[in-house]
């Protein structure tokens, strides 16, 4: 595949390349025609067409569940289509496994990294290759990979074990994996979900230099702003179909894209009414805790949360926010004081936190928040089975339980055949509704919500936000931990930024701005963040 036209295009005010549509004509690197893929109960792809031109960044936009990942998994050889044609460089191909796709020059960087945590970077990159033939002598490959990394501006130590790397570094390993195999077409699946704003800029810079070198990139995302910034052309999917194909990025607005994505006018019209400051519901004083690997995860966290207030914790994955939620809910031991309504609850059993009216919407819906093979009833009573009306001495009143479950199912619109349906059969959005129903209906005074809208479609996101704000209006204190800065800025009254287990900055919502928060999320100190802001905007620079 030849490289596209030379690309040293200047950055416009929003970082978009100023370029005319006609420059992007050219041979097709990848073509998908009429792709159909069915799973039990759903048609994930319903006659989808997609064309990627050589040397371009083409965004595949759609909300969660629209079918984008399925389409790309077909392209990557993970799934086989039920119908349709795939052409690479004009030649029809059939991929039986990811190996075939790799051989054809495709490389996918998955949303959820597929890395062997206990092995080194080099070992991870070498998996599945024919070289080395027999003996595994890593030193030579360490050097080779180090050079490849430097050439592409992806800084990482090949000798490091993956579990020691930060999330951003792990993503670089994933990219190196495909580059090492000579990928000419890269498929990036929601790559920015786990990155701080500055890291996102670095990533975009890397992508642009790759297209300048002749590679073509498919960029899957549900984030409108980023798509407009990085993509040359945009294809929008909704419910398994394409609603707009190959739109030049310069020719659409955010609002138009949103409508194409969701099918109706999208206005998140949520009111955050001003609330008078209530009593301190939650206070942390100098809390320290260790993570799963024994490495310190919280290094002296202190914060306060009042009733009727949402405190948003902005942090990149792996900086202690998960451990923070666990310490408050009793799932992790800690040093220091954790005060709920003035009482120190640090290191108390989980049962006590639940008894005090603390609700926890966990990060892991399927592994922690629900029991997959138990019914909806059983999942809904998980926190309330010890109290009346369900408890009856040491027996349980099952009809009372079913009554409660029916009420919750209807009230929170959990879509499922019956209340006896097993939880694993529910979609992500419905599972979250189940969890929210359970955690909100108990009228909690303190709610810990961790990544509450991750992976949900727009409708579910809206209803989740609405429910959280309703609880806030009713006087609950909510600790909102989210990687989605937009969500935090929409919902939170105050924002605290975490980096490496410490709170590096706290703001009221009106003072918060994305740049400063982004800097703090990646480790700049408060003074640095202030200083950098004084200088001219540096976004987009590589």
């Amino acid at each position: 595949m030849t490289g596209g036209p030379a690309r040293n295009a200047p950055s416009g005010p929003f970082g978009m390349d100023e370029r005319r549509v006609s420059e992007v004509e050219g041979p097709l690197a990848v073509e998908l025609r009429g792709i159909v893929k069915r799973f039990p109960g759903v048609v994930a792809n319903d006659g989808v067409d997609f064309a990627l031109r050589v040397g371009e960044v083409h965004a595949l936009l759609g909300e969660n569940g629209a079918g984008k990942s399925t389409l790309m998994n077909i392209l990557d050889g993970l799934y086989q289509p039920d119908a349709g044609v795939i052409r690479i460089d004009g030649q029809p191909v059939a991929f039986g496994s990811p190996r075939d796709a790799i051989a054809a020059g495709l490389g996918m960087v998955h949303q959820h990294f597929t890395l062997v945590a206990s092995q080194t970077v080099t070992e991870n990159i070498l998996i599945g290759l024919d070289r080395p033939r027999f003996r595994l002598r890593l030193a030579r490959y360490d050097d080779e990979i180090a050079r490849l990394a430097e050439t592409n501006g992806l800084h990482v130590d090949p000798r490091a074990k993956v579990w020691q790397l930060s999330v951003g570094e792990q993503q670089r390993v994933e990219i190196l994996k495909v580059l090492y195999r000579g990928a000419r077409v890269l498929i990036m699946d929601e790559p920015t979900a786990v990155l701080a704003p500055q890291e996102i800029d670095d990533l975009f810079g890397t992508l642009r230099s790759m297209t300048a070198a002749g590679r073509s990139i498919i960029f899957i995302s549900h984030k409108l702003g980023e798509v407009l910034e990085i993509a040359d052309r945009i294809t929008v999917m909704r419910r398994g179909r394409v609603t707009a194909a190959g739109l030049p990025a310069t020719s659409v607005t955010k609002g138009q894209l949103a409508t194409l994505m969701v099918g109706r006018e999208v206005l998140e019209n949520l009111e955050r009414i001003p609330m008078p400051p209530g009593s301190v519901a939650l206070a942390l004083e100098g809390v320290e805790a260790d993570g799963d690997k024994g490495v310190p995860a919280l290094r002296g966290v202190s914060l306060e949360l009042r009733a009727g207030e949402i405190l948003g914790i902005a942090a990149v994955a792996g900086n202690g926010q998960s451990e923070l939620a666990e310490v408050v809910t009793g799932l992790r031991p800690c040093r220091g004081r954790v005060l709920i309504d003035g009482q120190d609850v640090a290191n108390r059993p989980v049962r006590e936190a639940i008894g005090r009216g603390v609700s926890h919407v966990p990060e892991d819906r399927t592994g922690v928040g629900t029991a997959p093979n138990l019914s909806i009833v059983d999942n809904l009573i998980m926190k309330s089975y010890r109290a009346s009306p369900i408890a009856h001495g040491w027996a349980m009143d099952m009809s009372a339980a079913r009554g409660v479950a029916t009420q919750l199912k209807d009230g929170y619109e959990i879509a499922a055949p019956t209340i006896d349906t097993e939880a694993r059969l529910l979609s992500g959005g419905n599972l979250q509704r189940l969890i929210l129903a359970r955690e909100i209906d108990s009228r909690p005074r303190l709610m810990i919500a961790v990544q509450p809208t991750r992976g949900l479609d727009v409708g579910a996101i809206e209803s989740t936000h609405r429910l959280l704000l309703e609880r806030r209006a009713a006087g609950a204190a909510i600790l909102l931990i989210s990687e989605d800065l937009d969500e935090i800025l929409t919902l939170a009254d105050r924002v605290a930024v975490m980096y490496e287990g410490r709170i590096t900055g706290q703001f009221d919502a009106d003072e918060a701005d994305v740049e400063r928060i982004g800097l703090l999320m990646t480790g700049a100190s408060a003074e640095e963040a202030g200083a950098i802001e004084a200088a001219p905007a540096s976004r987009g620079a590589v």
Binding site: P40, A94, I354, D364, M396
Partner: protein
């Protein structure tokens, strides 16, 4: 959702692949149908192996049926064999519900038998005490003995995370030697591998005892232990399905992380479940020595604790279903004593378990044969 490992094959010139696709739900008749089907397949396979080694499968199976259900007398004997199987089956079903693999029911049964014997042989209760005191004490001792033996692996698991499968198995072997010590040593009857016989007060009453009043009951060896076993099944059913503790067990079994998140104390439940499970198996030991052999002897159990695993699995861990399944396997064990070669009942049990778990795949997945249209032919 997965596409499974598709294997393209050529058949009548076209390409198709056999795939396993996840099922959204399974119709209610499917599970029992698969269970029956699996057992049937297992019996056929066992029959084939029997034929290969020179035995006549039809004769073997007919013999099993006759010698376990052929007459009232043998039905009674079958129920006698079923009694310890029900109790150990309940023990396994309870533990397995929580994904605690208690393979130690055999050892817990032995320790329960030992503890019950100790009541009479140490003695714990003075000689001459009437039956209505001795027997309940023996029951309690049997339960406690088994519970103690179950708490050891329970503690090791809760505290150190020790794999309970191996721990319980090792304890089985230790229990076996423990019994041997007492039976060949301090309690031995003239150096033979058994203790002296218990006094009649320590015998669980059997139907035959009523033969004077009801001559028709003469010779029937089924004893009160059977009633105790069935009662235990009902109690366990109630506890598992209707009590808060049963709910916790189900939740831990399905997702320990979710259970922890819900505030359930997992370590405490491990100990509790192992104790009750061990206790149930211990009861089996007590009823066996008090209702059947009336003494403690070496090797008095033909592997009830191991057969119980298959009973529990076949009953899908449901306490009430354990009873009929245990009766069927009681028949197998009863008749199996006379079958040559002697490994046949064990072999059949293994094949049944295998077929069962293999059949479960059809509960979670559907087999689909998909015709793959060759991609190159579709040009636009």
């Amino acid at each position: 959702m997965s596409a499974g490992p598709g294997r393209p094959s050529r058949w009548a010139g076209s390409l198709f692949s056999v795939r396993l696709e996840p099922r959204l739900y399974a119709p209610r008749w499917l599970s029992p149908a698969l269970t029956i089907g699996a057992v049937a397949v297992a019996l056929v396979l066992s029959g084939i192996i029997l034929a290969v080694v020179g035995a006549d499968p039809i004769r073997v199976y007919a013999h099993i049926l006759r010698s376990s259900f052929g007459s009232i007398g043998v039905i009674s004997d079958t129920l006698v064999k079923a009694t310890p199987l029900i109790l150990t089956g309940l023990a396994c079903a309870l533990a397995f519900r929580m994904r605690l693999w208690n393979i130690g029911a055999e050892g817990q049964l032995l320790l329960g038998a030992w503890a019950a014997s100790a009541v009479v042989l140490l003695p714990i209760v003075p000689a001459g005490t009437p039956g209505f005191i001795v027997l309940p004490v023996m029951l309690v001792a049997g339960f406690l003995g088994g519970a103690f033996w179950g708490l050891i692996p329970g503690f090791l698991k809760a505290r150190f995370g020790v794999n309970e499968i191996i721990a319980t198995l090792m304890l089985n072997y230790i229990a076996f030697s423990w019994i041997q010590y007492w039976v060949f040593g301090p309690w031995t009857e003239g150096g033979f591998q058994m203790t002296k016989q218990f006094p009649p007060e320590a015998w669980l009453p059997r139907l035959d005892d009523l033969a004077d009043t009801y001559p028709v009951l003469s010779g029937l060896t089924v004893h009160t232990g059977f009633l105790i076993a069935v009662a235990a099944a009902v109690v366990l059913w109630f506890v598992l399905e209707r009590s808060a503790w049963g709910y916790e067990i189900r939740l831990i079994g399905d997702s320990p992380r979710a259970a922890r998140y819900a505030g359930i104390r997992i370590a405490r439940n491990i100990l509790l479940v192992f104790a009750v499970s061990g206790g149930l198996a211990g009861l089996a030991g007590m009823t066996e020595i008090s209702g059947v052999v009336h003494r403690l002897q070496d090797n008095f159990s033909p592997g009830y604790g191991y057969t119980a695993i298959i009973v529990a699995y076949l009953a899908k861990f449901h306490p009430l279903r354990v009873v009929p399944v245990a009766i069927l396997f009681g028949a197998l064990i009863l008749a199996g004593r006379e079958i040559q070669p002697s490994g046949v009942p064990a072999m059949i049990q293994g094949i049944i378990l295998f077929c069962l778990i293999a059949s479960e795949v059809f509960l979670r997945y559907r087999v689909s044969i998909v015709r793959r249209a060759p991609v190159a032919a579709e040009a636009r």
